[in-house]
């Protein structure tokens, strides 16, 4: 009996009171089986694929953690991560730019001296092994804890200075308290008081200590007319927060260009356009000069769940398979910035950085010279943008540069 005749029969004959609906046992069409099979294969394969990439990712992460924490002993790993981009992995520095640590008078002076330099940083000329350097070293006080400073100082003094002494965490804590709020070492001249027997150090050039013009100061801290103050969003010292950028230590030329771009509508941001439209050229330059000269510890911390090892790789080496060169190949070897067009990246707020990378990628920010950042941001997947923003947030803040050096850099560096 075929299915159709059965259906017809049931339609013609009224079912009785005790009728129970039934279905005869029919073979499942072959095609349905194929479909089910295909779906099954698909599902399993997908599951397996996800599983394998998950376990690969797990493996990589574990390997990274081992590499970061266990592979070389603490001090060596900390040195590679925090010191080697400037002082180089072999501690020889960079000719005419970054002082050597190897056999330097300061490494030989022992871990306590090294720790005090790390905690405060340096701003001023310093003479090391017969060469004078225009010393601008960041303070690591905010980037490293007491234990890390102790390990690093002991390692540097031991490896490069041949010192036997080591430093403990508690001693670093005491040094940190003693030096809190003292600002950076004013070159070798001030360090000469700390390290006996140093060769003659160059004198610290006189710095213009005059504060900003009162009108500029009002603008920064109190605002003007309808315009709120800079400090109300960017913080009293321009340290920024979340998606509000850090301004301290950005070059004067960069801040001026951004404010002019906001004013002219070349860069989009509702709040900033409103503020910038009320500013005169004089005010823009005054505000920019103020923030460019500020040296403030980093308040940024990795916050986006980015892969720091991946971020470090992009920043230091780039990913040339994506056509992305190292961030530092333009923004300077420690993310300190170069001239007016390549802003400092070190210690920038990660949420802000990631939002700007996304804006370039999406075509919402268009004021990068030659469209450099547009192309690079588009090439970076979202996870890489978070990774690199988080890595840069882990760096110590850019040292403020005294006006003389700034003029030289922006003038094109004729004394290379």
């Amino acid at each position: 009996m075929t299915r159709t005749s059965k259906q017809t029969a049931s339609r013609n004959v009224k079912p009785g009171e005790d009728f129970e609906p039934w279905e005869s046992h029919n073979r499942v069409p072959l095609l349905v089986i194929w479909i089910a099979l295909a779906l099954g294969v698909w599902g399993t394969a997908l599951l397996f694929q996800d599983q394998s990439s998950y376990s690969v990712a797990q493996g990589e992460r574990a390997a990274d953690e081992v590499a970061a924490h266990d592979a070389p002993e603490g001090g060596a790993a900390l040195f590679l991560a925090n010191c080697s981009t400037c002082h180089q992995p072999n501690g020889v520095g960079v000719r005419l730019a970054v002082p050597p640590l190897q056999d330097s008078e300061f490494a030989k002076a022992g871990p306590e001296v090294v720790a005090q330099i790390m905690l405060r940083g340096i701003d001023g000329p310093i003479r090391v092994k017969g060469f004078t350097f225009d010393g601008h070293m960041p303070s690591f006080a905010a980037a490293l804890d007491d234990d890390e400073v102790a390990q690093l100082a002991s390692y540097v003094a031991g490896r490069f200075g041949g010192a036997d002494a080591t430093l403990g965490r508690d001693q670093v804590g005491e040094l940190r308290d003693a030096h809190a709020g003292s600002g950076s070492w004013q070159g070798g001249a001030e360090l000469a008081g700390l390290v006996p027997g140093l060769p003659t150090q160059p004198a610290m050039p006189a710095m213009a200590q005059a504060g900003p013009d009162p009108a500029i100061s009002d603008l920064i801290f109190a605002g003007k007319g309808d315009v709120w103050s800079c400090a109300s969003c960017h913080g009293g010292l321009g340290q920024g927060a979340e998606s509000t950028p850090r301004l301290a230590g950005l070059s004067q030329g960069y801040i001026v260009k951004q404010l002019r771009d906001f004013r002219a509508g070349e860069r989009q941001n509702e709040q900033m356009s409103f503020v910038a439209k009320e500013l005169s050229d004089f005010e823009i330059e005054g505000v920019a000069t103020y923030y460019a000269g500020l040296r403030v510890d980093s308040t940024a911390r990795p916050a986006l769940g980015g892969d720091l090892a991946r971020g470090e790789r992009i920043a230091l080496q780039g990913d040339w398979s994506l056509g992305v060169p190292a961030c530092f190949s333009c923004h300077g070897p420690s993310g300190f910035g170069v001239g007016a067009d390549f802003p400092a990246l070190a210690a920038q707020q990660p949420a802000y950085l990631a939002s700007q990378l996304a804006a370039w990628a999406g075509g919402h920010r268009n004021n990068s010279p030659l469209g450099l950042m547009d192309r690079i941001s588009r090439a970076l997947p979202e996870s890489d943008r978070r990774a690199v923003a988080d890595y840069l947030a882990s760096l110590p803040a850019v040292p403020a540069v005294e006006q003389k050096a700034m003029a030289r850099i922006e003038g094109g560096g004729d004394e290379l």
């Binding site: 294969v41 020889v92 960079v94 000719r95 017969g130 060169p325 170069v338 850099i409 560096g413 290379l416």
Partner: protein
């Protein structure tokens, strides 16, 4: 069979067809999705393949730094890499300008068409017209120090002597980069590539505009490069006393045009047209730079005839009425030599 039966049968068949068609479609979609997920679909269909992947996947893939072996050989590779990246410090005695190997050989000597070292390593020993002899890799690198690194103005006053550890370490690095590369076979991506000649030829005047629009933001309007706050060179000087000298390959306009076309601006290779690449290369190389290290007691014209005849170079020619090849003034003391003591001398 009644007509009603036939009608029902017809309805059933069309329903069955519908179910089968929908089911079959579903199966196809599922299998297609599976194929896509697994990456079996060619990039031109999935649209996932980026331009870079299509152009670069054919090139030789050198190992990455993480693969450097933990052995005495690995130590030499690392030293070689450090010299390559930070030449003015790690081989500073022999560097008389502000350049490093990695300024022209991008990505640590890995980038195709920026004279990658994995391709160079397997081509030596080679006959070179430049010095009319068989050149080993050591001879070749000695040439780099002499011309591109302007060793004449360095503390040593010349390139590392034959047998120097500088060559040992650099060659270890190159050899390691070429792991698995075929020997004595020209490899895709070697050298800087070539730029086709254009009908207009090249012109420094046109090049000035190209430079201002595309290069000055990094290399500075005066081409002298830019430094960071510590005076560390970030963007290399293209002319002037801190750049390569007149004997360097990059001083030739065809070589510079190929480098520019295939590598500049950084992250946007190929952005400039062939014409712009020729013009800007001519502009860059129409400025004075340190003298040809081979000049010695010869005149510029003698040096030109002996070493530059037939080359695409402005050496010994007048551009805008100025004779080029004279060289920038010699430095007061060798580049990177220790300074005189500051402050009171021991006698005081």
């Amino acid at each position: 069979m009644s007509s009603e039966h036939q009608e029902d049968a017809g309805q059933g068949r069309s329903a069955k067809r519908l179910i089968l068609a929908a089911g079959g479609g579903l199966a196809l979609v599922a299998l297609g999705a599976l194929a896509l997920e697994s990456g079996w679909v060619p990039g031109w269909i999935s649209g996932r393949e980026t331009v870079e992947n299509m152009t670069q996947s054919d090139y030789f893939q050198p190992p990455s730094d993480a693969d450097i072996p933990d052995s005495p050989f690995g130590e030499a590779v690392k030293r070689g890499r450090d010299i390559f990246m930070n030449t003015s410090t790690n081989a500073g005695e022999y560097v008389g300008n502000g350049l490093a190997c990695s300024n022209c050989h991008l990505d640590g000597g890995r980038q195709p068409l920026s004279a990658p070292m994995w391709a160079a390593w397997t081509r030596y020993p080679m006959y070179r017209k430049k010095n009319d002899q068989i050149n080993t890799m050591e001879d070749r690198v000695m040439g780099c120090f002499t011309f591109s690194m302007n060793a004449q103005h360095s503390v040593a006053g010349g390139p590392p002597p034959h047998g120097s550890d500088v060559y040992r370490d650099l060659e270890s690095y190159f050899y390691w980069l070429a792991t698995g590369a075929p020997t004595n076979v020209p490899m895709d991506g070697n050298g800087f590539g070539k730029v086709a000649k254009t009908d207009l030829g090249y012109s420094p005047e046109r090049g000035a505009g190209v430079f201002a629009a595309n290069c000055a933001v990094c290399h500075g309007p005066d081409g002298h490069g830019q430094t960071d706050a510590n005076g560390r060179i970030v963007f290399p000087p293209l002319w002037g006393p801190n750049s390569y000298n007149w004997g360097a390959g990059m001083a030739r306009i065809d070589t510079a045009a190929a480098f520019v076309k295939n590598n500049m601006p950084l992250s946007q290779p190929g952005k400039l047209s062939d014409q712009d690449a020729w013009d800007v290369a001519a502009f860059v190389n129409s400025h004075e730079r340190p003298k040809d290290a081979r000049q010695g007691d010869m005149t510029i014209e003698e040096t030109r005839q002996r070493f530059h005849d037939g080359d695409q170079i402005y050496y010994g020619q007048k551009v805008d009425g100025v004779l080029l090849g004279v060289g920038t003034p010699d430095p007061e003391r060798p580049v990177g030599a220790p300074e005189l003591p500051v402050g009171p001398t021991p006698l005081e």
